[in-house]
């Protein structure tokens, strides 16, 4: 049984998160000239929140709001037996036909890469996008698959036994923050 150590390390505060997401939005706009073909799709739960904030920034920068979507990952993971803990399944919501679109998949933390792979699987059952890009707020390392993000808010080197805890004020009723939490065995 593991317990979270009360001491955690704050690596991003609300201002840092806002700046990182704004920078990602700028990079997406730079790399994708035709915003009408773009779909910004979040991976539940907090990837959806990051995706919404990226959309807000793109709208502020360009005056255009690309399409928004939610991509389920839970039912597309193939390691259910090994995880020993369930992830709530959330409906995939994609507002448009994905064929020939550019999808930016958005997650809060990039870790093993398995969520991203599952999201790619999910997307492929909806259509054939022209390109899929990947944006994350935090890249904590420890990849198990050959996956890398196109847009990274912050690289946070971690030990395997550490966790990254992302909190958003509107979801968690605490100020926006990214913390490294060390789990200790009791």
């Amino acid at each position: 049984m593991s317990q979270e150590h009360p001491e955690t390390l704050l690596v991003m505060d609300a201002d840092a998160i806002r700046k990182a997401i704004r920078r990602i939005a700028h990079e997406i706009v730079e790399r994708n000239t035709d915003l009408s073909r773009l779909v910004i799709a979040g991976i539940p739960t907090r990837g959806v929140e990051v995706a919404k904030r990226i959309l807000d920034h793109i709208e502020q920068i360009e005056g255009v709001r690309p399409e928004f979507g939610v991509v389920d990952v839970a039912m597309h993971r193939d390691d259910l037996r090994r995880r020993g803990r369930l992830t709530a399944v959330v409906p995939t919501e994609l507002p448009v036909d994905l064929d020939d679109r550019v999808i930016v998949l958005v997650d809060d933390v990039l870790f093993t890469g398995r969520s991203c792979r599952a999201a790619l699987d999910a997307i492929s059952s909806f259509g054939r996008p022209a390109r899929v890009q990947y944006a994350v707020l935090v890249d904590r390392g420890h990849r198990e698959l050959p996956i890398r993000a196109d847009y990274v808010g912050k690289n946070v080197p971690t030990a395997l036994e550490e966790k990254i805890r992302v909190r958003f004020e509107n979801l968690d009723s605490v100020p926006d923050s990214v913390r490294v939490v060390r789990a200790v065995n009791s």
Binding site: G84, A88, V89, S125
Partner: protein
């Protein structure tokens, strides 16, 4: 975050309102899979599900089979006539053999109430009750509830009438348990032989005339007259039943405009329900079948994920 920790699904009586909502929410997500061009996800890849139907069934068995296939599980179908139960093997021994074949999930339909619990207590595999005697049919109850919520938004305060052979109906029991927990008001309607007053102890009302509920019901759930289970003393005759309890066209016109008409199938056209009514705008009978698939995917997913969780 999901609070599901059960290995088995034996009945809705033992589930909390929160557990019911977890299944229904999960089913909502899985319903979308059936609407895609590629109707398959890898969630149960590597799992083996055995459809063990000691009692005959086509729709429930097919629904479970398709649900498992859509989750990428391997599926084996075994019927009573094809199993060694015919040769005198006990249920326990048959099941132990299935487990020795490394079945992860056993979907069991059996004519004896409690058969699924009997196996669940003895096997490591997840046991899903697909109908045990006159006890429970939890996935049918769940798909009925799912359909009601999908159409109405909520069950809080909804007047639900369950009409027909309640005494022998496992579907009715599963419905009653779940509807009570989710805030609906249930009225059971049928002849006093098939709907005894004792059912009121379950927290429901009892009525003996369909005409008593027509103007107030938000949902009418008509149960099949189970000719195979009926005994003469319970039942005056089909003509009498239609006269007192059949949802005829004339009666259907007295229902509230948005009233849902449901039936777990297979329907006896012209007995529980007139053909025109069964095929009418307010009938959601075929949607129940579609939703059954989503609910069974959710149950298989949740129970499979429960394996290995601390008790």
């Amino acid at each position: 975050m999901s609070g599901w920790t059960r290995k088995d699904l034996l009945g809705l009586d033992e589930l909390s309102a929160e557990e019911l909502r977890i299944i229904l929410d999960t089913a909502k997500a899985f319903k979308g899979v059936g609407e895609r061009s590629l109707k398959k996800v890898p969630a149960l890849r590597g799992h083996t599900m055995v459809n063990f139907f000691v009692e005959p069934s086509t729709r429930t068995r097919t629904s479970f089979e398709l649900a498992a296939m859509r989750l990428s599980a391997d599926v084996v179908n075994i019927s009573a006539t094809a199993s060694s139960l015919q040769k005198g093997e006990s249920l326990k021994d048959t099941a132990l053999n299935l487990e020795a074949l490394r079945a992860d999930i056993i979907v069991l339909r059996h004519s004896s109430a409690g058969a699924s619990r009997f196996l669940a207590e003895r096997l490591q595999a997840s046991i899903i009750n697909a109908g045990d005697g006159a006890h429970e049919h939890p996935t049918q109850g769940l798909l009925d509830i799912f359909t009601m919520i999908e159409k109405r938004g909520s069950l809080e305060g909804a007047e639900v009438a369950i009409i027909g052979d309640i005494l022998f109906s496992r579907v009715a029991r599963s419905n009653i348990y779940a509807l009570n927990k989710l805030g609906a008001k249930v009225t059971l309607v049928g002849p006093s032989t098939l709907v005894p007053k004792a059912f009121e102890k379950l927290g429901v009302k009892v009525a003996h005339r369909i005409d008593d509920i027509l103007e107030t019901a938000d949902v009418v759930n008509l149960l099949r007259i189970q000719h195979e289970r009926q005994r003469k003393e319970y039942f005056p005759g089909i003509g009498e039943y239609i006269k007192l309890f059949g949802l005829t066209k004339a009666r259907a016109e007295r229902l509230k405009p948005g009233c849902l008409i449901m039936h777990p199938g297979p329907i006896n056209r012209g007995v529980e329900i007139d053909s025109d009514v069964a095929d009418g705008d307010r009938s959601v009978i075929l949607e129940q079948v579609t939703n059954g698939l989503a609910v069974r995917m959710a149950v298989l997913y949740l129970c499979a994920g429960g394996v290995g969780l601390p008790s």
